[in-house]
Symmetry: C2
Subunit: 339 residues, 2 copies
DNA sequence: TTGAAAGCGTTACCAG
DNA sequence: CTGGTAACGCTTTCAA
């Protein structure tokens, strides 16, 4: 690989001059000299060594991305948005999977710091609690690395977060069912320790309240975000008088669908279902699923854009706008008593 | 961030000594001195600046990963295997999405070279032909970057590839149907310019031949790896006397399933289907899909291991073993005339 | 057993 | 307008 020195030698100029020209800082250098340098650079197929650049400028134009597991649709969409934005801005991104382990989070923060990243997009491991999150927060501080917490976070001062509006999503889903005439709306939540699940539940409650429907814990079931959770929830639900259900993700909604079928209950004739996530699958199922779509990829882009801006301008311009989800009405919901 | 110099000052030793100790090259240094250095390093929370290390050692312990689109299940599984292996070995990986564009491939190779990666795991954009592939090959050469072509490649001398055995997969799928008594086995392939599709077709033909079943182009349909391709293929197929079909991926298999349903044909009673990929979905469908599972993640791990080895030892030990797929028999296939 | 000094490829300051 | 030189943080001879 050709270096700046090679160009300097070839052109009989100093490395300073070459560097200046190559970085467009050559205000006082005649076009003629510039052309010579540029030509030599092209001839030698010069490409700057970013390691050296980063060493001296203290800026690598590199971000780290820490997610629990890139195989998960949510995270791969996030990663896509992030990488796209990086590319647009001439940045580059390291991929790290924590496998949902706090210790890995810590380890990766250290590694990325060593690699000289300017910032980290961080989606914390699901085994984190407030204390563990704080530990990581302090590590970021110690290394002086700016970071943005993606979707998952604990509320500390000065934490910058990129958020999906789960409350609104919960509200939209529930409101839709209410508008269709349902009043006995069951809820299959995610794990109770997850903030997104809690927020969605809040949205659910808000919609109920707003419409004068009493909240009934008997038709709220804690799920696990797996198909199987939907399946097993059905056994409990069939003993109640529910007419609709809001599942906190599409996989569980699908489990519900199958479970109901085995009980001779049909969607949407007998029971209406709303899911959450809008995974690829949902559109093409036997009964296309009404669900809540989240702008995950966009959130990735926005967060990245914000982070880069933060790094380059050192000012926290303002807050990242929360990303609003959108209800996608398909065939799994119907008017009550439409049968 | 503390540097080696800080430690040297604090301990009244030279940077040389500190470096030696920290890198376990301190054969001639008394334990006492070592302890002092180690303690100081801990106290100062020292962590080496890998940019500087890379600059001087010419080795960054960093790989690049170029894939068409990380949102695709196949690639995110690949990425997971790769990143896992990197982590195990103390390496790190840059993520790049080419969006299936040749020009992006080129661009990323240059960028990664600039970032000082020691090697690249490369899955080429689908718009590549032999000529374009060669262009990229030469770029790798010019930068002196070792690379491994993942799954997709063109046969040039000295190209190291990590391969899935699509021929075997095609053979297994077809053989399974033959064993069930089927002789009129249709085929819904991928795009004809893709090597994996061609290989699977070869496997299909091999199985037919081996069993004395004539090859009939009339029941071979070129697909597009999309659900919709499966759907539309049904319209052509129902005019033939096929009793089984081998779809070259699960998404199309699912499309077939739905299409057949609208024609009053049931799986596996009327028609047997074998898919390919074993995506998450396949196990939980109405009729769980018999399909071919590919060890994608493992291939990622193996390729990474090999590449790192290649970089560190400079010798091409031997060829990466081809990864054999596995038939997963579920409910979408049945004996002919079992109805 | 330890240290001085050169060098990796850049940028950036200050002279000329 | 251009160049010399220091510096970034580290490793690596070579000498002492």
């Amino acid at each position: 690989m050709a270096t700046i020195k090679d160009i300097a030698i070839k052109t009989n100029l100093s490395t300073t001059t070459v560097s200046l020209v190559l970085n467009n800082r050559a205000d006082n250098i005649p076009q003629k000299t510039k052309d010579i340098v540029l030509k030599a650079a092209r001839d030698l197929n010069y490409s700057p060594n970013q390691l050296a650049v980063a060493l001296v400028t203290k800026r690598s134009k590199t971000l780290g991305l820490i997610v629990p597991d890139i195989r998960n649709d949510f995270f791969s969409n996030l990663a896509k948005g992030i990488e796209d934005e990086c590319r647009d801005k001439g940045w580059t991104v390291f991929l790290c999977n924590s496998n949902d382990m706090h210790d890995r989070d810590l380890e990766y923060i250290k590694i990325l710091a060593g690699k000289g990243v300017d910032g980290i997009l961080y989606c914390m491991s699901s085994d984190s609690d407030a204390k563990k999150f704080k530990e990581k927060y302090e590590l970021f501080q110690r290394f002086g690395i700016k970071f943005i917490a993606l979707d998952r976070y604990f509320d500390f001062p000065n934490i910058i977060t990129a958020r999906l509006d789960h409350l609104k999503g919960g509200y939209l889903a529930t409101k839709h069912l209410i508008d269709l005439g349902h009043r006995r709306i069951a809820c299959l939540t995610g794990p109770n320790n997850l903030i997104d699940s809690n927020e969605r539940l809040k949205g659910y409650k808000m919609a109920l309240k707003e419409n004068g429907i009493p909240y009934d814990p008997n038709i709220i079931i804690e799920g696990n975000y797996q198909v199987e959770g939907g399946l097993s929830a059905v056994d409990k639900l069939v003993k109640t008088d529910f007419t609709a259900i809001f599942a906190f993700n599409d996989m569980m909604a699908y489990g519900l669908f199958k479970g109901l079928q085995t009980h001779g209950l049909f969607v949407p004739k007998d029971i209406s279902i709303v899911g959450y996530d809008d995974i690829y699958l949902s559109e093409i199922l036997e009964v296309p699923l009404t669900t809540v779509h989240q702008p995950v990829e966009l959130m990735g882009k926005t967060a990245t854009n914000y982070l880069i801006n933060l790094i380059e301008n050192e000012v926290e311009n303002n807050v990242i706008p929360t990303h609003a989800p959108k209800l996608v009405v398909r065939k799994s919901t119907a008017k009550l008593n439409s049968s």
